[in-house]
Symmetry: C2
Subunit: 252 residues, 2 copies
């Protein structure tokens, strides 16, 4: 009997991170996005399958464009594979597309850029918004978006981001930020940030610090001094996970 | 000992309807928004308090501007009352404001207008959006918004809406619709509709029928014939509850 050749597949995955202990499989049995994907793939493959992800999103962080890869012996085409996965995945995880890819492709190591969004809702009346509670950071004050954008311009370019996060494995803390901009629609603020790569908790740490500027608790100079201090303890409070969305991963 | 005078209060309430069996208290012990409000008020009043609502939203329907009223012996001011309520309410219900009102005020009988929004997300790629699942109706196809708006213009004015809903107590089915318009932003569609009053399930029934027009399954003439038939069974399928939001109630 001929054995079916294994193909490496690449997939774009969206998820509501509320119910998960982050993307990455944990040592214990906590539910994770990777764990759910591997469970479904193991059922299809009749053996364990490892799923590599581009970004190890934290507990509560969402994604609309996480990229993953896995090896699978499958000869029914990519659209039926996507359908088979979506039919078995829980309703808070969806595979947006599947393509056959180079067997050497790795979603994390091959990525040349990542884009995140962070959602804030200004509750200047001091009342929480029930419909926002797992989707946006509810900040209990008015925020000066112009000041936040002024501070955010400092982030663009190649800089040492040591203030805003730790490197994954003691590697260096220099990253190149391409986009860092706030947009406002009524009480809703959307921060878009893209970079070659991010340090651990970097987006949430940046957002927490920019919100201090927006509240008027930090001047532009204080933000600048914090950033240029290159010391983790100089950052503002880290923004909560549930406002963060991994929106896309870029490859050559 | 002097007994504290009872005041009628009016409050605007926002909620995520996902966890509730609708606004109105049920005979059994199912969680409802009214039930949660009454539980907290009973604790403050040290006796049962009835909360009247403007709109009896169904199970899963959300609100950003539900209006309620209740009688309470309270002399600490309206802002402390709002804070006391919000401190004890579950995180999916919030009191946006509280005011003292006329002791004859009734949020439902005195209302002269209501406004609802209905959120649709077009999933033309056939893949569900995990982050939308309790917030928008995920329609698995492209929709012709121009055609939906053309059909919606028919709804404006004073008409017999018998096709789209039942009256509360066998009263008549004539209602006056002021606004009925779809707006589009990328894949997201927002339907805004306001009227003097609505029949039971009227917005969801209208949306279900307009979506048939958007899909091309109904022509303008078919929509018109359905509307003018004044027969409940001529309506399209009722749209799901989780895309519907009660946004405001109007008083003289």
């Amino acid at each position: 009997m001929e054995s079916l050749a294994v193909t490496r597949f690449r997939a774009t995955v969206a998820y509501d991170g509320t119910a998960y202990f982050g993307y990455q499989r944990q040592r214990d049995d906590q539910p994770t996005v990777q764990g759910e994907l591997e469970k479904v793939l193991a059922r299809l493959a009749q053996k364990p399958v490892t799923v590599w992800g581009a970004g190890r999103t934290d507990s509560g962080v969402h994604a609309t464009g996480q990229v993953v890869a896995f090896d699978l012996a499958w000869n029914h085409g990519r659209v039926p594979l996507q359908k088979a996965l979506n039919a078995q995945l829980p309703p808070d995880i969806a595979v947006r597309d599947v393509t056959e890819t180079d067997p050497r492709f790795h979603p994390r190591f091959d990525a040349v850029g990542r884009a995140y969004e962070y959602h804030v809702v200004m509750c200047a009346d001091g009342v929480k918004r029930p419909l926002s509670r797992w989707r946006e950071w509810q900040v209990m004050s008015w925020l000066d978006v112009t000041a936040m954008n002024e501070a955010a311009t400092l982030l663009r370019g190649t800089h040492d981001f040591a203030t805003f996060g730790q490197p994954p494995h003691g590697t260096n803390t220099v990253r190149t930020v391409n986009t860092a901009v706030w947009q406002q629609q009524d009480d809703n603020l959307l921060f878009s940030i893209s970079a070659d790569a991010f340090l651990y908790r970097m987006v949430r740490s940046i957002v927490g610090s920019l919100v201090l500027v927006g509240k008027g608790e930090w001047t532009q100079t204080q933000f600048k001094n914090s950033f240029f201090a290159k010391e983790r303890q100089q950052a503002g409070k880290t923004a909560p996970a549930h406002g963060l969305y991994l929106v896309s991963v870029l490859y050559e």
